[in-house]
Symmetry: C2
Subunit: 359 residues, 2 copies
C-alpha cells in the first residue's frame, strides 16, 4: 500500500516523533490548508453519519457540474481521483494503453490490474520533460485504445496547452482511442478555466477529464475526486462497474461548500504564485541542484553533486523535513527529488536545510 509521497506515519514512527512534527514536502497539498469553514460543515454533519450516502450522489454531482459548467450526468464522483484511475480501465478494458511518463505511478498499476498491456511515451530530460507532440501523435498509431496524460504533470510540473491537447484528442478520435487527462493539479494555475481539457469534452466524447479535490482544497484525508465526460454511454459503462457508497458522507456534503469558496480559491492561487516564485529564486542559489520550472504546486529537482535522492531524503529527515524521493518514477533516477511549495517559513527551512545537506 506504499510507494507514494505523504507517508509521514512511518517516518514519524522511525524518528520516534508524532506525524505533526514533520514538515511534509512530499505530498502536494495547497499551502493554505483547507478552508476553515469546512470545519463547520463537518461538525454540523454528525447527525447524518447514520445514513448511507446517496447512492446516486445527486447533490454532489450537481455541485461538481455547476462548478464545471456542465451537466450532472457528465460527472462521476470518486473516493479520490484514485478510485477513478482504477475504475476507468476496469470498466473500459482497453487491450493496450499509452502512458506519458515520467508520471504518477498509479496509472501503470491500475492498467496492469485491469489486464491492460501498457507502454510508456518518454518525456526527455534534455527537453526539460516538455512533450514532443508530433512524436506522441506518431506513437499513437501503434494500436492503442487508451491513453493517460497527467496535466499539469506529476512530478515534472509541465503543462500541455489546449491546442496541443486538441491535436491529441482529434487524432485519438480518428484512431478510436479514449484519452484520460488527469487534471488533479490544474486549479493551481491562474488561467485554468481557459486551458482545461473539459472545454473539449463535448466536442471530443473520447476525452475523460479527471479531477481531484484532494490537492487544491488540501483534503487528502477526506477523499474526493471526480471525472467529466460527455459520452453518456461511457459514463453508464463506468458506473455499472462502480462499487456503491465509495464517497463518504462528509466528502459528499463538503463539495458544495468548497467549490463556492471563491475567496479561498483566488487567494490559494495568489499565495502559490507568490511563494513558488520566492522558493524558486532561493533554490536557484543552492549550488549542486537544478530544478524544472513548475506550473503546479510542486517542484522537480535534480541533484548534481552525485548525492543520491535517498541520501538527501535521509539527511533532511534529520531536520524533520520529508521530501519525495523521485527515483522510483519511471525514466527518473536517483538524482531526482520532488518538493511541494509550502508556506514561507517551511520553504525557508527547507532551503536552509538543503543548503547544509548539499554544501
Amino acid at each position: 500500500m506504499a510507494g507514494h509521497g505523504g507517508d509521514i506515519y512511518r517516518r514519524a514512527m522511525d524518528l520516534g516523533i508524532s506525524p505533526e512534527e514533520i514538515i511534509d514536502f512530499s505530498s502536494n497539498i495547497n499551502l493554505l490548508g483547507p478552508p476553515e469553514s469546512l470545519k463547520g460543515i463537518l461538525n454540523g454533519s454528525f447527525g447524518l453519519i447514520k445514513n448511507y450516502p446517496d447512492p446516486e450522489y445527486s447533490e454532489l454531482r450537481k455541485s461538481l457540474a455547476h462548478f464545471n459548467r456542465t451537466e450532472p450526468l457528465n460527472i462521476i464522483p470518486g473516493n479520490g481521483a484514485t478510485e477513478l484511475i482504477h475504475l476507468v480501465p476496469r470498466a473500459l478494458k482497453p487491450a493496450r494503453a499509452l502512458i506519458v511518463a515520467p508520471t504518477f505511478s498509479e496509472y501503470a498499476k491500475a492498467l496492469s490490474q485491469a489486464g491492460t498491456e501498457s507502454e510508456h511515451f518518454m518525456l526527455r530530460e534534455e527537453d526539460n520533460f516538455r512533450i514532443d507532440i508530433d512524436s506522441l501523435i506518431r506513437e499513437m498509431d501503434r494500436g492503442y485504445r487508451f491513453m493517460i496524460i497527467c496535466n499539469p504533470n506529476n512530478p515534472t510540473g509541465n503543462f500541455i496547452g489546449l491546442p496541443e491537447i486538441e491535436r491529441i484528442a482529434a487524432r485519438a478520435r480518428e484512431l478510436d482511442i479514449t484519452v484520460m487527462v488527469d487534471e488533479s493539479f490544474i486549479e493551481f494555475m491562474d488561467n485554468w478555466r481557459e486551458s482545461t481539457s473539459a472545454l473539449l469534452a463535448e466536442k471530443y466524447p473520447n476525452l475523460i477529464v479527471l479531477r481531484s479535490m484532494t490537492k487544491f482544497f488540501a483534503i487528502p484525508g477526506l477523499r474526493l475526486g471526480y471525472l467529466i465526460s460527455h459520452d453518456r454511454g461511457m459514463i453508464k459503462k463506468i458506473i455499472s462497474m462502480k462499487e456503491p457508497w465509495t464517497v463518504n458522507i462528509f466528502a459528499d456534503l463538503s463539495a458544495g461548500l468548497l467549490l463556492n469558496e471563491a475567496n479561498y480559491i483566488k487567494e490559494s492561487v495568489l499565495a502559490l504564485n507568490r511563494e513558488r516564485e520566492i522558493l524558486c529564486s532561493e533554490l536557484g542559489r543552492i549550488k549542486g541542484i537544478k530544478f524544472f520550472h513548475p506550473e503546479a504546486n510542486f517542484i522537480l529537482i535534480k541533484i548534481l553533486t552525485g548525492m543520491t535522492s535517498a541520501a538527501l531524503k535521509e539527511k533532511l529527515l534529520g531536520h524533520r523535513i520529508l521530501i519525495r524521493d523521485a527515483s522510483n518514477f519511471r525514466y527518473l533516477d536517483s538524482s531526482f527529488v520532488r518538493i511541494a511549495v509550502r508556506r514561507r517559513d517551511d520553504n525557508m527551512a527547507l532551503v536552509a536545510a538543503m543548503g547544509k545537506c548539499l554544501g
Copy 2:
C-alpha cells in the same frame, strides 16, 4: 448505483420532503445510532484532514486486531465491507464460485465483475430459509474455488452455528475452496464472540471473515469494514490489488474509539433484544403477514394477502415510512419485504401503518 436499501434521498425528493422526515426501515442500522462520543473524535480530527490517511493503516489495523484478539497482519481494512466484497474476488480470481442465497446482491455483482462464474445454493422457504448443510457439502464437490456465506444472513436473518461452519470450512479446505463468511451483522448477537468464524480462521487458512462497522456502530456515512484471514500469502495477494487511501481519515481515527465503547456495545445488544421481541410480538398480531424469526437486527416478512411488496412499500411511504422491497433478492418474490428493528415509537408507527395498509 442503486438497488439496495437506505436510499432515502430519491424517496424524499419524490415526496418533496427532506430525507430526515422519512423513518427508514430499509437500512439495517443499530437502533441506538452512533455513540455520541464519536462526535468529539470527528470534531477534534479536523486538523488531520490535510494529511493523507496512513497508507498502511497501522493504528487502525492494531485497533481492529485487538478487538478481535488477533494480529494486525491478519487484518485488511476497507471502505465499508463493500470494498472488500469487490476486492477479494478481483484479487483471488476464482474461476467458479458458490453463493448461498437469497442473500446480499453485491456478492453476485462483485463476482461477475471479477470474471468469476457463480452459482447459487438455494435456501428454501419451506425450511424457513435454514441451511441444509449436508446438501451444501455435496454441492461443494462441483468444482468451486470460492464460496460466500452471509452469517447472519441478509435478508433471511438466519445464523449458521460454528460446528456447521467448521464442517463447511473443513470440506472446503480438502477441496481447495476459499470460504468468505460475511459477518456484517454478527455483533448484534448476544454470543457472537463464541460463534464467530474468526475462531476458526487460524485452523482454516482458507477462511476469510468479513466484518462491517457500518451496521453495528450505525455509521454507514463514515465507511469502514475489514476482513480477517490467517493466510498471510492471501492477505498479501489481496493487498497487492488494493487501491491506496480508500479508508478516509475520520473512519481511520474512529475505529479505536468505537471498539472501546464497551457500554454502548452491551446496551446496543440489550436494546435490540428488547425491541425485537416487542416488534415481533406486534407483527404476530397483524393478519396477512408472516415473518421469519431473525437472529440479527432486521426481519424478513412475507405478505400473505396477495398485495405486492412494491404496493406495500408505496402505501407505507404515504406514512413517511420506507421499507425494503425484498422482491429483487434471488429466490424471493414480490411477496417479501424486509424491515430493520428501530426504536420503540418508530416500530409502533410501522406496526400501526402496516396494519392499516394490509387490513
